[in-house]
């Protein structure tokens, strides 16, 4: 159960399991405490400020006094930032690791040693990482404050030619 909570925190829990987990959280304080503690640790890693220990208790009390909102509605899936996983030729995804984000819809004829096929047609290959190229590309965009893909920013020497 706690491990499921950890997956929920990362947005990696199967949607069908969420209701069950939330119900469990109401019965077991250790789950709620874990949610609290893990976010505290995560926030500390990101250097967010501390709050007084009673912050959530005070807030829960205030929230309890609020009239319960009941306004169920279908949330629009935002059209901004939607992932488009349409390869123009499927083979592109075969060539690179990190390919889950550049998804292939069909599995092609590739020598078995090169490719590890997983379920639901996502293909992961043991080959150079797309992320390395993305990191190198975005590093040259000039926006030092938006640097991401830092895990692949292990660049060796860089010389301007």
């Amino acid at each position: 159960m706690k491990e499921k909570l950890s997956a929920l925190m990362d947005g990696e829990l199967d949607v069908s399991e969420i209701d069950g987990l939330l119900a469990e959280m109401k019965r077991k304080p250790e789950l709620s405490n874990a949610w609290y503690d893990w976010h505290q640790a995560s926030d500390s890693l990101q250097e967010h400020p501390l709050l007084s220990p009673q912050f959530m208790q005070r807030f829960s009390a205030r929230l309890a006094e609020e009239p319960t909102v009941v306004a169920p509605q279908r949330l629009k899936r935002s059209s901004v930032m939607k992932k488009l996983l349409v390869p123009l030729t499927a083979a592109a995804s075969i060539a690179f690791v990190g390919v889950a984000v550049w998804q292939s819809n069909t599995v092609l004829n590739i020598a078995p040693s090169m490719v590890a096929v997983q379920s639901n047609h996502k293909v992961v290959a043991k080959a150079p990482a797309v992320r390395a190229y993305l990191a190198a590309h975005s590093q040259e965009s000039g926006n030092v404050l938006a640097e991401r893909d830092i895990v692949y920013a292990n660049f060796g020497t860089e010389t301007v030619r």
Partner: protein
Amino acid sequence: MIQRTDRDIDQELVVRAQAGDKRAFELLVVKYQRRVARLLSRLIRDQNEIEDVSQESFIKAYRALPSFRGESAFYTWLYRIAINTAKNHLSTLGRRPQLLADYEDEEGESLDAAAQIPDYHTPETELSNRQIVSTVNAVVDELPSELRTAITLREMEGLSYEDIAAVMNCPIGTVRSRIFRAREAIADKLRPLLDIVGRDKRW
């Protein structure tokens, strides 16, 4: 940084909060409490005030839930409410802002001089923050390497389980378990430090 996976989980919790589940909303508050406080700390100096205004922002967000339709990320919407709450708070403190017609926002509220307050950088809060930060970092460094890699890729680099599995060359289930175990290990070491209210109670 807010990741794609944040949007997914936030949507799930917001939907349930909108359906009447207050606890789901509280989970979101636990998640964003410090981020909102940090945002407000650039506009408000006093720590107590920051916490009060943060709480007020969350309450306002709760009341406004029926109008949230998921067009933007929850955090973006929450952030706007927090900024507005801070603005109103500062203007009720009696500051006479320079009112110029141009500076009214969509609700007709006037943009006051909130953003013109000099940035205060209180050494005391900075110090206690740094202590916690260095403790967490130390605990992470002491983890067995596969746990450390998994939690770092997840928390610092924001990679999905799938991407982490590719980097670490292991199944996704293993990633999930390693991240969970790392979290538990860190929380165990961190708890005594944080003076958390009695463990039998929630939060």
